[in-house]
């Protein structure tokens, strides 16, 4: 609390720019140890906006104007809040506090270590067992006569960024493992990521070899030989170096590099060309800027998209995954994937390949397992990449963002193949950055153990599982063709588009568009209920008459029932259609505020701040419109509570 100089400021105006809000709401700003909380003055709504300190990526203070000071909060989930504070001193205080609070220096400052949901110790321990990696290996048929568990890394003796439980080829002795690890950057020796039962080929991962220009290592060569032998169906393996070849060659000068095909027998080396974390960081900044453009022309937008290079990078990662999946599924050849340290691009390529190869990872629980395995357990540096602490900004990079986006791009291409929807991916994204749960804290299993996170924090997975209702894709059917077998995506450039849901909050919320997915979820739910009812009735009739009755299915017209949520959107402010016409200027300024977008984010507009608010305006035009409109709000408000969850992740009444 020592960083908070002014815990409460009144008469503050807040503008949630990312949700398309165009008129600031007046209220009080509170600073707590973990959140900035804004409470509207409007007695009817008292709408609260909670922003977790650790979600804030930057606090800007534009020059003071006559009406007071101003702060711009940019969040890691790409929300933007603009705060107007009447007194300049307050503004300075809040700025200083937020600037410090949003840059925690020690783990102990993080929210997950103070976050205490209402669960007992047993439940918490249980929560950490929710995802069981051993069970997943078992599901894919490991251990078996080809792959065995190794104790080499118990107590993290061989590689401190690897998990203690690993699977290696049966013929890889501890001596080979240790020898190979000495020849690999940070000791990350080749280990099993995914085993494909259909072809007995495997996806393995490691870091780059310390080969320099001519170095070699007998154990490492034996290790790769062992990988090859563990797949009886093939007499070679692919070594996929996910870096651009030039980068890999440059690494040789530093005593690292890539496998020399002359030294290793029976390997085929393949470069994929995914750029490094620095390139990705600046590329993401550019695509975020594109998302923030106010009313760009199509040309500006497409030019910005091209210039950011973002989709090109996403395509490269997906291409890497496709290469690995094809080798394993179609050619039956095992693949060893690495980049430099084997925790960024390698994690991306391996996990995308798993998604493509195995339908299980396209389910809600399966994706959790996959992220737990290839990212959390294999030592992806979450705390460095997602700036959990105030450390070297050059370590920050949107690596898992890109993986999640690859999954999203796939789900756009195969609408029926994934059990989860976009919200699930966005929720995971927010949790990776927010540190409300301990799952993504730290950089390796060892760090997490040393911090005793299992005792001091909670796991995010059971929480997400509990909410799976809202993360379910209604079009998913396990028995459908798209949901089965290997996914073979088209990676032509035209298959990629900007992920609006993540990068463009503003546009997402302008019109509360009609969502077929939400509608179908409701339909599905109701169908199930009806089906149950029907069975019940049939049973009762059977009881009464003493003989079973079969229902004749008849084609009938659809019926609408009242229990379905309202699905239609109200009018959308057409501010883009024209410059304000002189005589309409008055009118169009109302259109700005009367947008239903506002009605969406703010279930009820505060009457005080909008004396000529939307209702009056609409009424004067058309009473019919109004009645439908107010009807709509209920359905629409429902949506907003979900979509705005990003900034409110930390919202918890027990906190104070």
């Amino acid at each position: 609390m020592e960083h908070i100089r002014t815990p409460k400021v009144e008469n503050v105006r807040l503008l949630d720019r990312s949700s398309g809000q165009r008129k600031a709401s007046v209220g009080t700003l509170y600073l707590s140890a973990t959140h900035a909380i804004f409470v509207e003055n409007n007695p009817e709504t008292r709408k609260e906006t909670w922003v977790l300190h650790s979600m804030v990526s930057s606090v800007e203070r534009p020059p003071t104007t006559s009406s007071g000071g101003q702060l711009i909060l940019r969040c890691k989930d790409f929300q933007i809040f603009q705060i107007f504070i009447p007194q300049e001193r307050d503004c300075l205080d809040v700025h200083a506090s937020l600037a410090r609070l949003s840059r925690p220096e020690k783990y102990s400052e993080l929210y997950c270590l103070s976050f205490n949901p209402n669960v007992n110790k047993e439940e918490r321990e249980e929560s950490w067992n929710f995802i069981d990696l051993a069970a997943d290996y078992k599901r894919m048929g490991v251990p078996n006569n080809l792959w065995v568990a190794t104790a080499a890394n118990s107590e993290y003796r061989v590689c401190d960024t690897y998990p203690s439980e690993l699977f290696v080829p049966k013929s890889a002795t501890p001596a080979i493992i240790v020898g190979s690890s000495r020849f690999r950057s940070r000791g990350r020796f080749p280990a099993l990521s995914y085993f494909h039962q259909d072809t007995l080929a495997a996806v393995c991962r490691c870091s780059q070899p310390l080969s320099g220009f001519s170095g070699r290592c007998q154990e490492d060569e034996m290790m790769l030989q062992a990988l090859m032998k563990s797949n009886p169906g093939s007499d070679y393996i692919y070594v996929v170096d996910t870096r651009p070849k030039l980068n890999a060659m440059a690494n040789r000068a530093a005593g690292k590099g890539y496998e020399n095909e002359d030294h290793y027998t029976n390997i085929k080396l393949q470069f994929i060309g995914i750029e490094n974390i620095h390139v990705m960081r600046s590329s993401q900044q550019k695509i975020v800027d594109v998302g923030e453009m106010r009313s760009p022309s199509v040309t500006d937008f497409l030019w910005g998209l091209e210039n950011s290079g973002w989709l090109k990078h996403i395509k490269a990662i997906l291409d890497a995954g496709v290469f690995v999946a094809r080798a394993v599924a179609d050619e039956g050849v095992s693949v060893l994937v690495h980049c430099s340290d084997g925790w960024d691009r390698t994690a991306q390529a391996c996990s995308v390949a798993s998604i493509l190869l195995d339908p299980y990872y396209r389910t809600i629980r399966g994706l959790m397992v996959l992220i737990q395995r290839d990212w959390v357990s294999f030592g992806h540096k979450f705390s460095h990449r997602y700036a959990h602490l105030d450390r070297d900004p050059k370590e920050v990079s949107p690596v898992i963002d890109q993986f999640l986006e690859c999954v999203w791009q796939l789900s756009e291409q195969f609408p029926c193949a994934f059990e989860f929807n976009e919200r699930f991916l966005i929720a995971i994204h927010a949790h990776v950055y927010s540190c409300q749960y301990g799952t993504f804290l730290g950089n390796s299993q060892k760090e997490r153990r040393d911090m005793r996170l299992h005792e001091r924090t909670h796991s995010v997975w059971p929480q997400l599982w509990k909410d799976r209702g809202k993360y379910t894709n209604p079009l998913y059917k396990a028995e459908q063709s798209q949901s089965q077998g290997v996914l073979r995506p088209n990676t032509s450039p035209y298959c990629f588009k900007m992920w609006k849901g993540l990068y463009n909050h503003a546009e997402k919320s302008t019109p509360p568009r009609q969502s077929p997915a939400d509608f179908l979820s409701a339909v599905r739910e109701e169908s199930q209920q009806l089906e149950e009812e029907l069975t019940n009735h049939q049973e009762r009739i059977a009881e009464l008459t003493g003989k079973p009755i079969t229902w004749e299915k008849i084609e009938v017209p659809r019926r609408r029932t009242s229990c379905l949520p309202q699905r239609h959107s109200g009018p959308d402010p057409p501010t883009l259609y024209r410059e304000p016409i002189a005589s309409l200027a008055q009118d169009s300024s109302h259109t700005l505020s009367s947008a239903p977008a506002n009605q969406k984010t703010h279930t009820k507009e505060p009457a005080l701040s909008l004396p000529l608010g939307p209702h009056g305006q609409l009424k004067s035009h058309d009473p019919d419109d109004l009645s439908t409109c107010s009807d709509l709000e209920s359905g629409v408000a429902d949506l907003s509570s979900r979509s705005s969850s990003g900034g409110d992740v930390g919202k918890d009444p027990d906190l104070e």
Binding site: G291, P296, S297, V298, T299, D300, F301, E306, G309, Q413, F414, P415, C416, L475, K477, Q480, N490, S492, Y494, C495, F496, K500, E507, P511, Q514, S515, P516, F519, L520, V523, R524, E526, S527, L530, L534, W551, I554, E555, V556, P557, R558, R559, R560, R567, H568, S569, G570, P571, D572, P573, P574, L576, Y577, R578, I581, D587, H621, D622, D624, T628
Partner: protein
């Protein structure tokens, strides 16, 4: 039949057909006056492909002679000689499909290619297939089309007080491109109309095209006024427009040209309504691309979609360079402006460009879809197309003679109607529950407009259609689409009527490439179609349950 002279080889055996999304198949090719018929050899699972020759936009042929001349002198059997030389014909269709035929025998190949080239672009309308199409289950209709201006007027009781149906154009003498009956203000007599027509290009004087029931405001359509360099004026035209806004303080004119273009038009006898003579009308200029520029945009886009370099930067820059999405944005936002004037601001609007037969129709159609729930049902939409595009005359014959692949020199081609369908698709995507029809209908229309069994899109005007007896001798597409089986297929399972205006977002991120059309023949689109199918099934299943 007179087509026989163009067909030297009518049948070829042992032809290999390669088409998208299917394995190549071997069979017999047959060419008739209007069709290319391919039938598979497989006994068990025989497939037939029937392609309207009219659908073929461009062909490329290549022949090779493997055996040289030796074959001619030897006593080799017929079949051996055929295998000696062969040819390949690549057919690029107006529905963007690309088919390839491998034909044994160079001469046969050249004959077939020649027949396709000639028969696919016959100019004579009355020799086109719709005049020969006689399906067994369909007799020629008593009434052609869904409605007529007379019927439309008689159903709109709200109009009776201030508007009348004028038959001043009954013999097409006042305006050759208008239907015989049009709706005009009641206070304006036919003589005034005749004089006003002389002041408008092609005689297209302002007529009513939409009446907004909520507030009684209207959308009018016309061509540009013929001011010329001397700034002529026409009292009758002014009177006519004055009568439109009787009882209101003003009206808006949306000119689909830029201010500069409109001013330049004066040099060639055209122009715009000047403030001094039409003082209660306020003008907006919105430059909309038309004609050649639009056709070139389509060609570039189709070329970009076929690019196989697999390079993201290249794709994005080609997509940008085609400008197609800019045209979509422009059309939707101009339509949005029109709706804003009528629905929000509560004033009547006159829309015109120069001829009033392309962009004016485009934005008035879109505006009606956005505003009026009646136009969003399947009948409503087809009726709207009939009124705005068939009766009010879009010159389909000229605009849709060729599509994106043709090498022929561009004349009057312009994909305005395709742009409309794309815009409607954007609406459907943004409001998946508000339209009563599905993407499949838009795709069907996009195909039919270029090559059809039906007479609906033949000719350039009502007058031409009458002269050729199109209404008596061909079937009407819109009526066919409304038959129960077809209707089921093209309806939107998620449709639920909403009375609200569906304001489209015109933000570039909300606009998307219409993959269903432009990438129609790729595997990717199949997955999306499966999803649509799944939605349909779910809703049907739900309907059954809800009923029982």
């Amino acid at each position: 039949m007179e087509f026989a002279e163009h067909i030297k080889t009518a049948n070829v055996e042992d032809v290999v057909l390669r088409q998208p999304l299917q394995p190549p198949s071997r069979g017999t090719l047959c060419i008739t006056g209007h069709h290319l018929l391919f039938s598979d050899r497989e006994e068990s699972d025989s497939r037939q492909v029937l392609l309207l020759l009219r659908n073929i936009d461009a062909i490329e042929k290549s022949v090779e002679n493997l055996t040289g001349y030796s074959g001619f002198f030897s006593n080799a059997s017929h079949s051996e000689r055929m295998s000696g030389s062969s040819g390949t014909i690549t057919m690029k269709c107006k529905d963007l499909r690309v088919l390839q035929l491998d034909i044994p025998g160079m001469e046969q190949c050249l004959n077939i290619a020649h027949s396709i080239e000639t028969l696919s672009c016959l100019d004579c309308v009355s020799a086109m297939y719709p005049f020969f199409y006689r399906p067994v289950d369909l007799s020629l209709p008593e009434q052609w089309g869904l409605s007529s201006p007379e019927m439309h007027y008689s159903q709109m009781k709200e109009l009776y007080e201030k508007w009348r149906l004028s038959t001043v154009n009954r013999d097409y003498s006042v305006c050759p491109s208008y239907p015989p009956a049009v709706i005009v203000p009641k206070s304006i007599d036919d003589d005034t109309l005749k004089k006003a027509a002389k002041f408008r290009q092609g005689g297209r004087f302002p007529v009513l095209c939409y009446y907004h029931k909520k507030n009684g405001m209207v959308i009018m359509r016309s061509s540009q006024p013929l001011l010329g360099a001397n700034r002529k004026r026409c009292k009758e035209d002014e009177l006519l427009l004055q009568a439109v806004i009787e009882g209101s303080d003003k009206g808006y004119i949306i000119d689909t040209r830029s201010m500069q273009q409109a001013q330049q038009a004066r040099m060639t006898g055209g122009g715009f309504e000047s403030k001094s003579f039409y003082d209660r009308w306020k003008r907006f200029h919105r430059q909309m691309e038309r004609g050649k520029a639009l056709q070139e945009s389509l060609i570039k886009l189709v070329e970009a979609c076929g690019d196989e370099s697999n390079n993201m930067d290249r794709w994005l820059s080609k997509l940008e360079n085609s400008k197609w999405l800019s045209h979509v944005q422009n059309a939707l936002s101009t339509a949005g402006l029109l709706v804003e004037c009528v629905e929000r601001d509560g004033h009547s609007v006159l829309v015109h460009g120069s001829e009033g037969t392309d962009c004016s129709l485009l934005i008035s159609t879109l505006a009606q879809l956005i505003m009026d729930p009646c136009c969003r049902t399947m009948e409503g939409f087809l009726g709207l197309l009939e009124r705005e595009w068939i009766q009010a005359r879009h010159p389909f014959q000229q605009r849709c003679a060729h599509s994106a692949y043709s090498h022929a020199r561009l004349q009057q081609e312009s994909p305005v109607f395709l742009l409309l369908l794309d815009c409607v698709w954007q609406l459907w995507r943004q409001f998946p529950l508000a339209l009563g029809f599905s993407e499949a209908l838009l795709l069907r229309l996009a195909t039919e407009v270029y090559a059809s069994d039906y007479g609906t899109f033949l000719c350039n005007s009502d007058q031409e259609r009458c002269a050729l007896e199109v209404k008596e001798r061909t079937h009407c597409l819109f009526r066919a689409l409304l038959r129960p089986t077809e209707r089921d297929y093209y309806s939107n399972p998620l449709y639920e009527r909403t009375e609200l205006a569906i304001w489209p977002s015109v933000h570039p991120q909300s606009l998307q490439l219409w993959k269903g059309y432009f990438l129609r023949w790729t595997q990717q689109v199949r997955h999306l179609e499966e999803a649509q199918e799944e939605i349909r099934n779910m809703v049907i299943e739900w309907g059954k349950l809800a009923r029982s």
